[in-house]
């Protein structure tokens, strides 16, 4: 590793503009003639639309257009789709109800878009939106997924009888039942995974611009994957053909999954721009974000874990109900199936696993992937159950886990995944050492003297990242391939542009991707620029989510670099009159190995473009592209230890220590990786202690629709984390990278809850473990 190459703690190139307020976000974009949009949204969770009267709104000052779903349908704009087909266990395809970008005859959740108003100013658009008169016929609403499955529950979509989207299973149910029946011990758990609101710092936004003269659309949008947005808007929503639609995702202020999806607003802004003849910008306010960003998690599961007389796990059986909200969001169907149940083996040898999942419509915001997407649900369920089982059979949580660890790789789980590499014992030991696990009882006694209840909890997580081999996900129902593209352009004087289909919305690609190039060619980091987020610049890409940018996006870059390197060596060999096999690249020079003959990198590049003296038949220029399709998922894993002190008088939990020992494979920039772990743990602690999205069961109103009621983690809720890595390189991609973006959010919630339940001696506790809940659990008879 050089000062700026792979493994270096390089400061982020992009931070200068972010910390000086010079970032360029969608709301910073200004197009001549641009006007502003406001959406009319349903105040009801479930209602028929009787009539929409736009007359008064159209007469309001500054109003240019008021458009409804009927006109949208007339113009042939399509319904939103879910892009991953799941079949129920009876073989029938999932029951997907229609989701019109603007509701036509029915609204299904509070915030459902009904009409768009375009006006000269944002204020005028909002004033006029209030003047749109919508007559509703209110119906009963249901917000809880279990309740929605019951007989007589309000029905959301005619396509989905009993609100059931699918009833899916994986694994061998008979084998699991048999093992449970003959088990020496069975641990039974009821696991609730709380609903979360993503809360990216930058709210969603869209600017649609239709150029009549060119018959061409441009959409600036807050997207994690602008190319997927273009593909879907072209192929399914009939907004415009791909060659007439440019999608740009400029600086994007956080996504966490919520900006993967193509939402009604960007479609409607593009369409409204053509209808109204002006560029149309919409920026969500925070309330709209709470109401309409795709939420995360919301699972309820029944769990049985069977052990033999030696405390080895023999089976796991899970029955999960997943709340999908009012409509099926773009990747919603994959989250509680292939991103969830396939991870239920965790780090353990479990001979028999069976999981049944029922996906359910309710009158709530759509639910889709949120940092971790399915894997936090699997990890929380498994690690709470494992810790409980250890307590029940009287083994230490570490010993019980260690006894059941997978130790030989590759390891085929009973639920599809084939783990390629890992060393769980090393992470466990590293975490226990960093946490001074052995000294805990002394600390517990000391805390007791201060009137505090101290507890310790552990979580050994595994996740599947680098999503994913296209053929494999295709066979599981994915509507897209999950490869990535890259193009490396070496300029005439040797500076380099890397075009990637990955999208950075906080991850630091402009730094880490450049480090990869600097490392390969020994050129200064500053001579490498990363281009992303624009369909007119980067041909195609699948975007950033599921911790895939390193493992998949950078692997594509590495493949393109291979091609550049091969051609560069040919040119250098020609210039140096040497054999290309003898050329090595070191410190920005192409050298004949073992001699002092060398040509500087920039001179080789210049030669490629002057083309005065190239090998016979070689094309001028130096630009290579590559598509990389991964051969497997990657499997980051680790062990997290959380130590808490509970104030028994108030139930308040303080996290006094948090240790993360991760295995991320090879690491490009340790500082950025640590930042990802810190952020992930903050979100995981948020889920465990603070964040709980609540709807009023009767009215379907979102009760936690602002920061007055929805608790985001703050700095003073968190301790200083002790993070470390001990890495086994990933054998499945050229860089040995596993991915680190979601680990913190996946591994931390069970560690926190295991610690609190250890402290209070009551295992009956749900997330978020608010002071009130912990106090009640402490005072409950058990």
């Amino acid at each position: 590793m050089g000062m700026e190459g792979i493994g270096a703690r390089v400061a982020r190139k992009e931070d200068k503009r972010f910390v000086t307020g010079a970032g360029r976000y969608v709301d910073d974009m200004v197009v001549p003639g641009m006007k502003h949009a406001a959406f009319v949204r349903s105040p009801h969770a479930h209602a028929d639309i009787k009539k929409i009267d736009v007359g008064a709104a159209q007469k309001m000052p500054g109003v240019i257009a008021v458009l409804t779903g009927k006109e949208l349908k007339t113009d042939g704009i399509g319904n939103l789709i879910c892009g991953w087909m799941i079949h129920s266990k009876d073989g029938s395809p999932m029951n997907m109800g229609a989701w019109s970008p603007l509701a036509v005859d029915k609204v299904r959740y509070v915030g459902d878009a009904v009409a768009i108003v375009v006006a000269d100013t944002k204020g005028q658009a909002r004033d006029a939106a209030e003047a749109v008169e919508v007559s509703y016929d209110e119906k009963d609403a249901v917000t809880d997924a279990s309740a929605a499955l019951k007989k007589g529950a309000p029905q959301l979509h005619p396509e989905a009888a009993n609100n059931l989207i699918y009833d899916w299973e994986i694994g061998d149910g008979d084998a699991a039942d048999k093992a449970i029946a003959s088990a020496a011990h069975v641990t039974t758990m009821h696991i609730v995974n709380n609903r979360l609101v993503p809360n990216a710092m930058e709210p969603r936004a869209a600017l649609g611009h239709y150029d009549k003269a060119e018959d061409h659309y441009t959409c600036w949008t807050t997207s994690q994957n602008p190319h997927v947005a273009r593909l879907v808007m072209s192929a399914f929503y009939n907004v415009a053909p791909e060659n007439k639609l440019r999608v740009i995702a400029p600086d994007v202020g956080g996504g966490f999954g919520s900006k993967i999806y193509i939402y009604p607003e960007e479609i409607v802004c593009l369409w409204a721009s053509k209808k109204s003849g002006v560029p149309v910008k919409w920026v969500a306010d925070r309330t709209e974000s709470f109401l309409t960003d795709a939420h995360g998690r919301d699972h309820v599961s029944e769990v049985k874990l069977a052990l033999d007389k030696d405390n080895r796990i023999t089976a796991l059986k899970v029955d999960t109900i997943a709340n999908f909200g009012a409509y099926m969001s773009l990747f919603s169907s994959a989250v509680p199936t292939y991103l969830y149940a396939t991870l239920l083996s965790g780090q353990y040898v479990i001979p028999a696993i069976h999981c049944n999942v029922r996906a359910v419509y309710t009158n709530t915001a759509p639910v889709d992937a949120y940092r971790g997407a399915g894997r936090p649900e699997a990890t929380y369920l498994l690690e709470r159950t494992i810790e409980t089982a250890a307590r029940e059979v009287g083994l230490s949580p570490a010993e019980f886990r260690s006894k059941n660890f997978i130790r030989e790789f590759p390891y085929q789980t009973p639920v599809i995944m084939n783990y390629d590499a890992g060393d769980y014992e090393t992470s466990l030991k590293a975490a226990m050492k960093a946490a001074d696990y052995d000294g805990f009882e002394k600390r517990r006694d000391a805390a007791k003297k201060n009137g505090k209840l101290r507890g310790i909890g552990m979580s050994c997580y595994i996740e599947a990242c680098g999503i994913a081999p296209s053929a494999a996900v295709g066979s599981l129902g994915a509507g897209v391939g999950l490869w990535e593209s890259a193009e490396v352009r070496v300029n005439g004087v040797g500076t380099i542009e890397v075009l990637t289909g990955s999208h950075s919305h906080g991850q630091g690609h402009e730094t880490t991707f450049a480090q990869l190039v600097a490392d390969r060619f020994g050129v200064p980091l500053d001579s490498v620029s990363i281009v992303h987020g624009d369909t007119d610049k980067v041909q195609m890409g699948m975007g950033t989510y599921g911790s895939r940018s390193g493992a998949v996006g950078m692997s594509a870059v590495a493949k393109a670099l291979d091609k550049v390197e091969a051609k560069a060596k040919k040119i250098a060999a020609h210039l140096l009159e040497a054999d290309e096999g003898d050329i090595v690249i070191e410190n920005g020079e192409l050298k004949v190995a073992g001699t002092d003959k060398a040509v500087p990198w920039f001179q080789m590049a210049l030669a490629a473009y002057t083309a005065h003296n190239l090998p016979d038949g070689m094309e001028p220029g130096l630009k290579e592209g590559a598509f990389y399709d991964p051969s497997n998922f990657t499997f980051p894993a680790g062990c997290y230890v959380c130590e808490v002190e509970v104030d028994p008088e108030t139930g308040r939990t303080e996290i006094v220590q948090f240790v993360a020992a991760d295995d991320f494979g090879n690491i490009i920039n340790p500082m950025i990786v640590e930042g990802q772990v810190h952020g992930g743990i903050a979100q995981g602690v948020g889920q465990a202690l603070l964040e709980g999205c609540q709807y009023d069961a009767g009215s379907g109103q979102l009760v936690t629709a602002s920061y007055m009621d929805y608790t985001m983690p703050r700095a003073d809720d968190l301790p200083s984390f002790k993070v470390s890595t001990s890495n086994t390189p990933c054998p499945s991609n050229p860089l040995g990278i596993k991915g680190c973006g979601e680990a913190g959010a996946i591994g931390s919630p069970p560690a926190v809850i295991n610690a609190i339940t250890d402290a209070i001696g009551n295992n009956d506790l749900t997330m978020p473990a608010t002071p009130q809940k912990v106090w009640a659990a402490l005072n409950a008879k058990h």
């Binding site: 204020g123 909002r126 004033d127 209030e130 309330t287 008088e649 108030t650 139930g651 308040r652 603070l690 609540q694 009760v703 936690t704 920061y707 007055m708 009621d709 929805y710 608790t711 985001m712 608010t770 002071p771 009130q772 106090w775 009640a776």
Partner: protein
């Protein structure tokens, strides 16, 4: 936010006359409650009359044990006032824990008192201290001033100009913040003075700030945290919401009272 017209009042009389002229005017001080409500389109005054720049309303005066705090004094100014810290440090401490630094440098004691948010900190202090709320029309005892949730004895055109109180022998405040908003989910201000013990509770009552006879009677016997061991307060008239049930709040009243007494006893 709906359209509104902003006025910066130069004096209390100017403010009163601006209000009279306005169609549907509203006084604003720090605006820490009103402005967010307007941004959410939950309030739509035609005119905003800003009281913060009226010189007469600013500053803390301490004379012996007599304290007067001008209505436009910010929480940060109360928190950092050295004279006040000498005679009534609990008041400085309370102000130093309102909101965040931004709120403390914008929000004012007059605005907080006039708004009477049931989870605000000052009302508990003023009620326990037997403070007087001074307006441009009269003087009102705290016990008569805070009349319910966001309700006060103020007339439409009445402006709080100051609060005054006599610094007691001992006082202390402890609050348990709402995890999301960090307003007091339960806050207790205790006072021990020649005229006896008073304990006022904010954030918990279903009708706003109130005095707790159970806490006061226990502390009257002995102004000591241990005197509250085994004491309970009825949950019947306490708030229940998604963050805290009435029963949990009843527990917090006693716990916060203990901590407030401990703070008062230093």
């Amino acid at each position: 936010m709906y359209q509104t017209t902003y006025h910066r009042a130069s004096s209390v009389d100017d403010a009163a006359s601006l209000l009279k002229k306005a169609d549907d005017g509203k006084f604003v001080s720090g605006g820490m409650t009103l402005i967010p409500a307007m941004k959410q389109r939950l309030a739509a005054p035609s005119d905003l009359i800003d009281l913060r720049h009226i010189r007469d309303l600013k500053g803390v005066k301490v004379s012996g044990r007599s304290v007067t705090i001008g209505a436009a004094t910010t929480h940060a100014e109360v928190a950092s006032n050295a004279d006040l810290a000498k005679v009534c440090p609990a008041m400085c401490n309370l102000a130093s824990h309102i909101g965040d630094p931004h709120v403390r440098h914008m929000g004012t004691i007059g605005g907080s008192v006039a708004n009477n948010d049931p989870a605000a900190d000052y009302p508990a202090a003023l009620l326990a201290l037997d403070a007087t709320i001074v307006t441009n029309q009269r003087e009102i005892a705290a016990a008569d001033f805070f009349t319910g949730l966001f309700e006060t004895a103020l007339n439409e055109d009445e402006i709080v100009t100051a609060v005054s109180f006599t610094a007691p022998d001992k006082c202390g405040y402890a609050k348990f913040p709402n995890p999301a908003s960090r307003y007091a989910m339960t806050g207790v201000f205790v006072v021990s003075s020649g005229s006896g013990v008073k304990a006022a509770v904010t954030g918990a009552g279903d009708d706003g700030v109130f005095r707790s006879p159970e806490i006061e009677s226990a502390l009257t016997k002995s102004f000591d945290a241990a005197a509250l061991d085994g004491v309970s307060v009825p949950a019947g008239s306490l708030m229940s919401d998604i963050h805290a049930s009435a029963e949990y709040r009843a527990n917090l009243v006693v716990v916060m009272a203990k901590r407030a007494v401990a703070a008062a006893n230093g």
